[in-house]
């Protein structure tokens, strides 16, 4: 199985057992670099897919929570190279497959081919790059594909249908359906029409569709599960990690509606 197929398989496995997949996002090294691997182990033991955020100085698609997390991680010396080196020590056996979510510039500086090799080596199955639209994605996508690593495409409510179809076909791992026009971390609830939007995308996509942005509660995860293969929880989990008293595995079980 190619690394990107591990992501798809994990999501389908969750669906086969009768529940939506839970995709969990954490900013690497936040709130403290020493706690990164233990937190990752706890999250990867519970979630179906883990997105690890590579901090960037100018996170233009992110709200206050992830801006704050990125700044704090950079200030504590977290970089793409540091993350990849730590992941070499992560024991991923029997745990959720990993993706890196990064703005393009840190990847560009690392060099695409070296990045693809190193990512595959340390168990990274895919990348999500929020400032890399389809039209500019070939150089990175091809380098990653050579190592079997996927590049996940994002679709938004502003995307016209013909374009959404192209994005679904180009995506690897899953299709990331942004629930709203806006930045991450919104607390205003999901927009009206999200169910129809997700139904239409799920219908056209050959890959599972996972919805993200503004998902914070078990009720929202359940609602999303009726229309998509999975839900991405980001800012809410980052905030739970910031409160070091929180039992992270329990928090994730709670989002799935299981008893904590």
């Amino acid at each position: 199985m190619q690394p990107h197929e591990r992501i798809t398989a994990s999501i389908r496995r969750a669906n086969a057992s009768g529940r939506p997949a839970l995709v969990a996002f954490m900013t690497a090294g936040h709130p403290d670099p020493a706690g990164f691997l233990p937190a990752l182990a706890a999250i990867a033991g519970e979630a179906d897919v883990v997105e690890i955020g590579v901090p960037f100085s100018d996170p233009m698609a992110d709200g206050m929570t992830i801006q704050r997390a990125s700044q704090s991680a950079i200030a504590q010396g977290v970089s793409l190279r540091w993350i990849l080196d730590r992941l070499a020590e992560h024991d991923g056996d029997g745990k959720a497959p990993l993706l890196l979510m990064s703005y393009l510039n840190p990847l560009l500086n690392f060099g695409y081919e070296a990045l693809a090799r190193r990512a595959a080596e340390v168990g990274v199955c895919g990348f999500i790059v929020p400032d890399l639209p389809l039209e500019e994605s070939a150089p990175l996508g091809e380098a990653l594909a050579a190592a079997g690593v996927g590049l996940v495409q994002m679709v938004t409510p502003a995307t016209p249908p013909a374009r959404a179809r192209r994005l679904c076909e180009a995506s690897r791992g899953f299709v990331y359906a942004v629930t709203m026009t806006g930045i991450t971390g919104g607390a205003g609830g999901l927009p009206e029409g999200v169910a129809d939007y997700l139904d239409a995308l799920s219908e056209m996509s050959p890959l599972p569709v996972c919805a993200g942005f503004g998902i914070r509660s078990a009720e929202q995860v359940r609602m999303i599960g009726g229309h998509a293969a999975g839900a991405v929880v980001g800012s809410a989990l980052v905030e739970a990690l910031e409160d070091r008293q929180t039992d992270v595995a329990g928090f994730l079980r709670g989002l799935r509606g299981e008893s904590v």
């Binding site: 100018d58 233009m60 698609a61 510039n105 500019e136 994002m154 502003a158 995307t159 026009t181």
Partner: protein, 417 residues
């Protein structure tokens, strides 16, 4: 540290630039430019590109734009000879007076052009970012003129150092948001404006103020500012009987510089020289000299030269002038540098202050601190090349800088020169 080209490749890219074939359909100036934005903004950028091409080719739009430039902005702006500076420097010095354009800087050319476009494209509101406040004031004025609500994002550091402009924006009807995230200067203001735009890409028009960002902005902003270079060329031929030997403009994002340079790229005997902010030293975070010291990367929608560390984190910058305090630069400047058509130098905070005082005392014109960098660069060049004809883009007036200037008492020699 820019991209290296063979001589043949340089010649080809220069010819493409002169023929008006850059940016290409993907928004590239050679390797630079492009469109690196969240998917949410892609349909909005495509609508903007389509609408821009349609209206910029429409005689009715161009006539409306020309009419506003003539009767509201006050164009053409004059060309002023500066004989006292010329004597002091051993040169013939001419100034292109964008400081006399409405609202006091070149920024208004782009602001009114884009505000007219926003109205035609059916925008419900306009957002803009600002560094020195000049683009914020110009956007506020242009939006009032065309009848659209305007929100301006401005870094909290800049709100403080350009206080007079904040009050002007509010009186012109704009809402001003002091941005507290990131480095709290121009770059954070752009990040925040992009976040606003992502929230309402269909109804909001982003009136970007420099020749940076995703395609089509570097092209659109250049086209709206090229009036500066076209007028200058004609005025020099009429007043001096010849084109200048060298043309100087300050470069932050590079909008006034590209407007002045672009129409003269074809004039191979005219040296084009951009002057960046050298700040207070050469270390990362001490200056904003992107073209002199940057490496290629992607920031805020565009592949260009950036001030960044080895991990690709964009670095803090410093300049005494808020408008030059930016870690990236317009992609066309990155190209013009890498093919050797424009050279880029830098001037320190101190040199800029000194040049500002000199111009004020000798010619009775107080330039903006941004603009003063162009004077400082021109003075150094003039002394190395005696007896030449210089044209300086006087991109804006310095009244807005009085709070900053009051911290630096004048030296007596300029007071009595």
């Amino acid at each position: 540290m820019t991209i290296e080209f063979s001589e043949a490749e340089k010649a080809r890219l220069l010819a493409e630039t002169i023929a008006g074939r850059l940016p290409d359909e993907r928004g590239r100036f050679g390797p630079f430019g492009g469109r690196y934005v969240p998917e949410t903004l892609m349909p909005a950028l495509e609508r903007l590109t389509e609408g821009m091409h349609r209206h910029l080719a429409d005689p009715a739009f161009l006539e409306r734009f020309r009419h506003e430039l003539t009767t509201w902005v006050g164009r053409p702006t004059p060309l002023t000879e500066a004989p006292n500076l010329g004597r002091a420097w051993g040169a013939q010095v001419w100034l292109k007076r964008e400081d006399l354009a409405h609202t006091g800087a070149h920024k208004i050319n782009n602001a009114i052009g884009q505000a007219l476009l926003a109205k035609l494209l059916g925008a419900r509101r306009v957002i803009a970012e600002t560094g020195a406040g000049q683009h914020g004031v110009a956007s506020a004025a242009a939006c009032a003129r065309v009848g659209l609500p305007c929100t301006v994002y401005m870094g909290a550091v800049d709100v403080e150092r350009q206080a007079p402009n904040v009050d002007r924006m509010r009186r012109l009807g704009a809402e001003v948001h002091a941005v507290q995230s990131g480095d709290r200067t121009l770059r954070s203001a752009i990040d925040e404006a992009l976040r606003d735009w992502v929230s309402d890409p269909a109804g909001t028009y982003y009136l970007l103020g420099s020749a940076v960002g995703p395609h089509p902005y570097p092209y659109l902003v250049r086209e709206l500012h090229c009036v500066i270079g076209r007028e200058s060329r004609e005025q020099m031929l009429a007043a001096a009987g010849a084109l200048p030997d060298a043309v100087f403009a300050c470069v932050g994002g590079g909008s006034n510089a590209i407007g002045l340079f672009h129409p003269m790229v074809r004039d191979s005997d005219v040296a084009l020289i951009g002057v960046e902010a050298g700040g207070r030293g050469g270390g990362l975070g001490e200056h904003s000299a992107t073209l002199s010291r940057g490496r290629p990367g992607v920031l805020q929608g565009c592949y260009t030269l950036l001030l960044q560390d080895d991990d690709g984190q964009v670095q803090g910058t410093h300049s005494i002038s808020a408008g030059l305090d930016y870690p990236g630069v317009g992609p066309e400047h990155a190209l013009l540098q890498s093919i050797g058509r424009v050279s880029y130098i830098s001037a320190s905070d101190e040199d800029a202050l000194d040049a500002l005082n000199e111009c004020s005392a000798l010619e009775g014109i107080l330039p903006a601190l941004e603009t003063a960098h162009a004077f400082a660069g021109a003075r150094v060049w003039a002394r190395r090349h005696p007896g030449r004809r210089l044209l300086i883009g006087l991109s804006g007036r310095g009244d807005k800088d009085m709070p900053t200037l009051s911290r630096f008492p004048m030296e007596a020699r300029h007071a009595t020169a």
